[in-house]
Symmetry: C2
Subunit: 364 residues, 2 copies
């Protein structure tokens, strides 16, 4: 039995031409351990945008039905040499119905699952059965049950694994940030939320968050130092990446750790760490290094974290997501559309802006 | 029995006035576990300069015999609030004769020791007996037997503890860098040296170094990528701190790790890490983040490293330094002078420039 439909691919050529388009495609029976999922809903996450468009100029791109042709900056084109000339599928996660099952995956046949195919912007997608989670919820409710929920839970697990006891989170009003607020409330983990507007302060306060700081306030830094001193939140997670925020967080941690302590030319000996887990700002990260010599800044990525955490922790995380899919881990979307709609200029302009609260759900 | 002499102190006041001066001082009998050392020779390391002058304006300071009064920039004055008004002694390490011993330290009486008093710019200094190493060598040969040798050995131990197999070292022509070249040759550890001039390339090549790259060369980056690909040197140590070098090292590591690998939107999954262990450039650290999400940038400091490494490793390191003090761990000085000379304008101008190969030895 074969299935036919469309699949979105993104191709970067050596001359900097980026082409996204829908192609007709046929799916055969899945391999052992895999299932074939009829995709019902798939979100566009920031991590998907890095593959779909990266830093291409979508403003001046050529849009036609089912096709976008854009120009990638030269340095980005060079940096992504390994993908030149390849038509790559995209779409990390989805929810959909299992329409065919490979050997060993027969139990999933006919069920709705949340899955992580990596090629979800399509009519159908192959997915690893071991990563599929059967769900009672609707496809829209289940579409974002992997990336954001596992990342938010991954932050609290990382905190515990590394011996920290409280978290600073930047761009905290995102879907992921709202999940983290709920998780930390449930688990009694002190959380300092950094947001960019008074509306976002209200949003998180309404969810029950204690510490919500507006980084555009004039007294943001002293407030951040106070909040960190109170919560002992010495591990931070920053999806912005560019600019000075990671440096400011480390500086505030150092100031909080040094309060009342004797002067040390090397700074406080209290461990302080910030993870950069995204690139909402593609500009350089600027560190003033006004935080002694006991500090750590690192990249955070879900897959290596899960490999380090191991099966037991990951299994516990997955079970929690399944149980609380429509409460703690609920996602919100500003727009829904077909694969064709996803490649229109106004849709791209909306979701590629990466604005908090403006998330797109593909419904093939 | 009491001993009299002079001690250098550095004091920063809240108004930004930095005062270094020599004070008359009397030393009484040392406490249990301590010795009193008559200081014969004490180097000025970059780590000492952070306490002595930090970013004060030494060019326009007022110099008088045994005294320097300089202005500290406002932001630095604020950042060092915890030391306001305190006359702090300085001088991490020294060699000298034990002239008095506290309870339990009698065996060191009358011996020349290498020691880590933290107040070595003085006629006498108290030192922990457990950190003293009796030496056969001259005072000048033994003066720098702690900070640089233990730091250089600390790099190779850090590499092993964290599972790396080769090292990138920046500002590699320093005394410390020359030690690291010799250590890595002795231990068969691949080392990529980054220097700033052809003279420095020749200096390290003459010591037997294989990979010595001049960062002012136009083809520095491709050469760095080649050297890292060849050596698998995925841990770096950078004493410069400011500027783009740490970012360039991570970028080169990423490029080397990605060679021949399939494209991944998140970059290579090979761990890559750079430690910043100094601040030869006090400017901000600029990261372009063109190195995926599997990376780590952290501060490195000798004392916390030794605490983490534990007594066995540290004991082994100390024994090696004692054995090879006049060979592998030999230091070179461009100028020697009394405590009075150390506070003259031309001496300060020379050692505070932190130029490679221009190190000052205080001989009280």
């Amino acid at each position: 039995m074969t299935f036919t439909g469309k699949q979105l691919t993104t191709q970067l050529d050596a001359d900097g031409t980026l082409t996204l388009q829908l192609n007709d495609k046929t799916w055969d029976a899945p391999k052992p351990g895999q299932v074939l999922v009829k995709v019902e809903a798939s979100p566009i996450n920031p991590s998907d945008l890095g593959l779909l468009f990266a830093s291409a100029d979508t403003e001046n791109a050529a849009y036609s039905p089912g096709k976008v042709v854009a120009k990638m900056p030269d340095n980005a084109t060079r940096a992504m040499k390994a993908r030149h000339g390849m038509a790559m599928p995209a779409g990390n996660e989805a929810a959909g119905m299992v329409v065919a099952a490979g050997e060993g995956a027969e139990a999933l046949m006919g069920k709705r699952v949340a899955c992580v195919p990596g090629s979800a912007y399509a009519s159908y997608a192959y997915a690893e059965a071991a990563m599929c989670m059967p769900v009672e919820a609707s496809a829209e409710q289940a579409a974002s049950s992997f990336v954001n929920p596992m990342t938010a839970l991954g932050f609290t697990e990382t905190m515990k694994l590394e011996g920290f006891t409280g978290i600073v989170h930047a761009a905290a009003a995102s879907n992921l940030g709202q999940m983290l607020v709920k998780i930390c409330l449930e688990d009694g983990i002190p959380l300092v939320n950094i947001v960019r507007s008074e509306d976002q302060v209200k949003l998180l306060k309404d969810l029950g968050a204690t510490h919500v700081l507006n980084m555009t306030d004039a007294d943001f830094m002293p407030k951040l130092i106070d909040a960190i001193a109170e919560t002992k939140a010495m591990i931070g997670f920053d999806p912005i990446g560019g600019g000075t925020l990671a440096s400011q967080i480390l500086t505030a941690m150092e100031a909080a750790a040094s309060r009342g302590a004797a002067f040390s030319r090397y700074g406080s000996s209290e461990p302080k760490k910030v993870y950069i887990y995204g690139a909402l700002d593609l500009g350089p990260t600027i560190l003033n290094r006004a935080f002694g010599l006991t500090w750590d800044l690192a990249g955070w990525l879900l897959t290596p974290f899960m490999m380090k955490a191991g099966m037991e922790i990951v299994g516990r995380m997955r079970a929690r997501v399944g149980k609380d899919l429509t409460t703690t881990f609920a996602s919100h979307y500003a727009r829904r559309g077909s694969l064709e709609d996803m490649l229109t200029k106004d849709a791209v302009a909306m979701y590629n802006a990466r604005r908090t609260g403006e998330k797109y759900l593909a419904v093939p």
